[in-house]
Structures are given as C-alpha cells and as structure tokens.
C-alpha cells in the first residue's frame, strides 16, 4: 500500500469514527408500523433540515378523556445531535385553527441516528387534525 493510500484510509477511518461519536443505535421489538399511523404531507422549505431532521411517523388516537392525542416521531439521520423548535396547531373539521395550549413554540433535541417522540393533545373534542412546523434551532 502506498503512503498516499494509507494516509487517505487513516483519514477516512478518523472521519467515520468522529461521525459515529454520540450516534444512537436503536433496537426495537416492533417491526410493523403502528396501527394508529396516519398519512401526512410535508411542504419542504428547508431541504437541509428535511435531509437530516425529519418527521418519520405520525400517529393520532383518542386520549383517556376522548380528545385526540398526536405522537410525532422526529428522526435525526445526521451525524450530530440536533436541536429543533416545533409548533403544533390543531384544526377543526372545517380546517379552522383552534386556539389551545399547544400553540406555542417548544424546543427539543434528538441524538444522531435517533428519534424523539413529540406528543400533543387536542384542545377539545372539536379538533380533528393538526399541523406541525419543525425548524432547526438557531
């Protein structure tokens, strides 16, 4: 092996090792999608955000009180822990925004290779849908 090749391989190994620092490995006993998973549509304005930090799964089901509860899995496919802010807005059957406790920006962080579940509870029984805005932390 020539020296140039050796140096390149050492550099590559160093980069890969650095990228792996703090990265999460996940093992799950469930292999099927959740039964409460629902279809979503995403409008992408920040491609970089979408590549690394994206909504992986959305589930919606009634909470104990009967109002809807949403669980949103945000996954980080990047090589470093990423912080983000999110805003959940609940809508009624007509698509009108409902004021509620969720209507405030919140922050969270997700480790590289991992995912985090955001939960949100509808403000009342009239809520049928929701939207979530996710943005990278500044």
């Amino acid at each position: 092996m020539n020296p140039t090749r050796l140096v390149s391989m050492v550099c590559l190994a160093a980069v890969l090792a650095a990228a792996g620092c703090g990265t999460v490995n996940t093992t799950s006993t469930r292999t099927e999608p959740a039964t409460d998973s629902i279809a979503t549509r995403t409008q992408i304005n920040d491609l970089f955000n979408q590549i690394f930090l994206h909504v992986r799964d959305v589930r919606m089901f009634p909470a104990k009180s009967g109002v809807l509860q949403a669980q949103i899995d945000v996954a980080n496919d990047g090589f470093q822990t990423r912080g983000f802010s999110y805003l959940v807005t609940w809508l009624d059957a007509s698509g009108n925004t409902l004021p509620g406790p969720s209507s405030t920006w919140k922050t969270s962080r997700v480790a590289a290779g991992g995912s985090i579940t955001i939960t949100s509870v509808a403000p009342g029984p009239e809520a049928t849908d929701f939207s979530i805005q996710v943005r990278r932390a500044s």
Binding site: A63, K64, S65, G66, V67, Q69, S85, P99, G100, P101, S102, T104, W105, K106, T107, T119, S120, V121, A122, P123, G124, R135, A137, S138
Partner: protein, 196 residues
Amino acid sequence: MSIARIIASVVLLPSLVACGSPGKYIETGGTDSIVSVGEVDIQDLQVAASGMLESLIAQGTLKSAPHQPAQLRIERVVNDTSSAFDVGELTYRMREQLVNSGQATVLTAYGADAESPEAQERLRQQAFLEGRTSVDTLEPDFFLTGKITQLKRSAGNTKQTTYTFRLTLTNANTGQEAWTKVVDVTKQGTRNAVGY
C-alpha cells in the same frame, strides 16, 4: 479637513449610528425570544402551562367533577426559585384555556383570600337575605396548588438551570390528589442569547 476625510466621515457616520439592533416586535415566546440561562423566560412559562394543560385535558379529570363545568379554586402556587416572576403568568394562561373552552370555571369569590371580595360579600348578603347559611353555589370541585423549584449546576463557565413546575389538583370532596403533573425546563449556556 481633506476631501477624503470628509467623504470617509459621511460614509462611516450612518453605519456607526446603525450599530446595535433597533427595537422591534416579536412573537411572544417565539423563536426570536431572549433565552436567559439563570432566569425563567416567558417561553418557559408558556411551555409549562402548555404541558400542564395538555396533561389535564388528556386525563379528563375535570370531566369527573360533580359540577359541569368543573369548579376550580386556585390556591397557592409557590415560586421557590431565584427568578422573580408572578406565578399568575402560569396559572392565568391555564385559566384562560380552561375557562374559555368551558371545561372549568374558577371561583373568584370563594375562600379567605378571594380574588373578588366584592363579589364574595354580595353573594353572602344574598344568601343571608334568602335565609341560607352558606353560599352553596360556590363549592369547589378541585383545589389547584403547586410549586416551582430550581436546580442550578455549573461546569467551568457553563451554567445549567432546571426549573421544575409542579401542579396538583386535589378533589375537594375526597381530599385526594386527582391529578398531578411535573414539567421540567432545563437551560444551559455560558451567557444569555437572543433566539433559540
């Protein structure tokens, strides 16, 4: 003064005047807000109130009250942190949502330290004139109490503060805890910052 110096002064003066950020309106608690490492910020209170309300609504505790909407008496919520703020910033945000959505009413004319002594006195007079001994319409279903505490740590120049918001609903008829929730807000950094 040379021509070049005059031109330089004219060009540089506006830029010097423009230094610093001019005042502007931002969304309250939005992502442009100031983040204070050792203080409770407005967004922290919003997040705490939101977490409390979501839990309360999801559990459906208020629906089990004898009165509908549930009658709530807000008792002491103690601010046991070094950050000076009115706990009403937390409880009023919750009240607004609960009362305006018809899930609860807050008794403001009940107790030794009623929020509205005038209304309390008027109700007492009414009860007296009608031959009643108590203002029986003002029987709370739940008492809301709470505490806000902090845990401060540092490593080198990095400071970390965890603010813990705890609220509890006590069933007025049984005296038992009907609902409780803890919301933690942790902030870390070397100095305050604008935006998050």
